[in-house]
């Protein structure tokens, strides 16, 4: 990293021009919107901010958002671990196709992600009539929100873990197994500690996305205030009612969560950069 000191890319004029351009771009497109969220949230003071968050409908939205995340994150985290184990630890044909298929939900527009479940599970959908006969409300109810969120956050943990496990290799696990450890014991004592930071970051990413998803949830929610509105949907309702302070107050909670996500990524980068030292250090 001594490349910078050599100033190989030319005169200071060019250098400062490029830094200035990069900074202005980041300021205009990233810092300004982020700062605006907090500025508008506290526009009318702390009391107005607090009233907006303590509102019963806002609370209902926060509870539904947390409930959704609490269901979605463990399922997709488990899937991520299973996907990473089968893809990174074994050699089989069609691996690249499987990885592409796992990434598929990222290329599907959130609105389409919601729409496919309306088509499948909605009133006149393929399974809709069957569900209706049993009076199971899925679409325009909480289960639909959970399913749409599962779809949208599907690849997040797997994507973090697959390259990580591939880079770690199989040597540690093979050593443990040949010394007589069981498969589960090997996983919990060897693999899990090795991937813990990547897994943690995947979970943080998945949680943030699950709580912030808007398009897909918007399609399947039915927008019943206080019942099927998650935080992003509640923000939309408040914003469309010109209740800007309340909208930005709820938005500031999600913005805070996104800052935690960014900090989490930096922390994981630090932790994984430190790992080699840790391994050779005293126990």
């Amino acid at each position: 990293m001594n490349t910078c000191s050599r100033k190989s890319t030319g005169a200071p004029v060019v250098r400062w021009f490029l830094i200035g351009a990069a900074l202005s771009f980041i300021l205009l497109f990233l810092v300004a919107p982020l700062a605006a969220v907090f500025a508008y949230a506290f526009q009318k003071g702390v009391q107005a901010y607090w009233n907006a968050i303590a509102d019963p409908d806002a609370w209902a939205a926060i509870r539904l958002t947390l409930l959704t995340a609490a269901i979605v994150v463990p399922i997709n985290a488990l899937f991520g671990i299973a996907a990473a184990w089968s893809i990174a630890k074994f050699e089989f044909r069609g691996k690249n196709i499987l990885i592409t298929l796992i990434d598929l939900p990222f290329t599907v527009s959130p609105v389409i992600a919601g729409a496919i479940f309306v088509f499948l599970l909605g009133a006149n959908g393929l399974l809709g009539t069957w569900l209706e006969a049993r009076q199971w409300n899925v679409i325009f109810a909480v289960p639909g929100i959970v399913i749409a969120t599962l779809f949208v956050t599907f690849p997040l943990v797997a994507r973090e873990l697959i390259p990580l496990m591939q880079s770690l290799g199989n040597d540690d696990e093979e050593a443990a197994l040949s010394l007589g450890a069981s498969g589960w014991r090997t996983f919990f004592r060897i693999t899990l500690p090795n991937i813990r930071w990547g897994l943690l970051y995947g979970i943080v990413l998945c949680t943030a996305r699950a709580m912030g998803e808007f398009g897909a949830v918007s399609v399947v929610s039915g927008h019943i205030r206080g019942v099927t509105t998650t935080m992003p949907l509640h923000i939309e309702i408040l914003y469309n009612e010109y209740n800007f302070v309340a909208a930005f107050a709820v938005a500031s909670l999600l913005a805070l969560l996104s800052l935690v996500t960014l900090a989490g990524k930096k922390a994981v980068e630090w932790a994984s950069a430190r790992r080699p030292v840790e391994e050779f250090g005293p126990e």
Binding site: S86, F117, F119, L120, S258
Partner: protein, 280 residues
Amino acid sequence: MAPTRRRLVRKSILPGFGLTMGYVLSYLGLLVLLPLSFLFLRAGAMGWGDFWSVIASPRAVAAFKLSFGASGCAALLNAVFGLVVAWVLVRYRFPGRALLDALVDLPFALPTAVAGISLTTLYAANGPLGRFLVPLGIKVAYAPLGVIVALTFVGLPFVVRTLQPVIREIDPEVEEVAASLGARRRQVFLRVIMPAIFPALLAGFAMAFARALGEYGSVVFISGNMPMRTEIAPLLIMTKLEAYDYAGASAIAAAMLALSFVLLLGINVLQWWSRRNEYV
């Protein structure tokens, strides 16, 4: 799958392949592949004539044009400034660099609805930025330009994050050699740097473009959603769903999905191509 699996998989002493692969395949099939293929079945059941009449209707064509045009502009903007940001982050050291680097991921982490209301308020006629832009005749909020701004925000990390590792690989000595042999700065950029980063730049552009095509949350607030003028394709799907026009919604959704898959394929080919070229 079970009977053929043994021949497809290389033997390993590690356990758990059947269990984990079983979970992965059944979950992937139920949650992703089954619903997606049902969408195509449903759109296919319409018949070609009906499908085409939905896709080629003036309102749908206007929505597709805006979606592709604005996504293209946003991805291009991100390609240019993403290159500058990635270059600055890799090559220069200055106070606040680590913070800047962390901030690049913000669009991945900030919910799109939050970005949407924030950008709209910033660029509205009485907003902190709109106040100066609107008197100059630059209308961002509730205009096509607003769609481009929102999509630029959404696609910003892709170009930067694909370029950073590639720029890190370029040895500054190569540039010095070129310069000492008499190459001008523009020549060094076009002949030395550009060929090395071009595949990654293209891949980043394509990813930002694909992400922008499907974006909904940040755009609905800033665009104003006027049919024929500021209505993007995902919003048209939403409008048709809300009107219970499921056939129309599935036709547009199927068309958009097919286009995204073609893009995804292109990205994968590009990445494969750039990885191969790295070692040549």
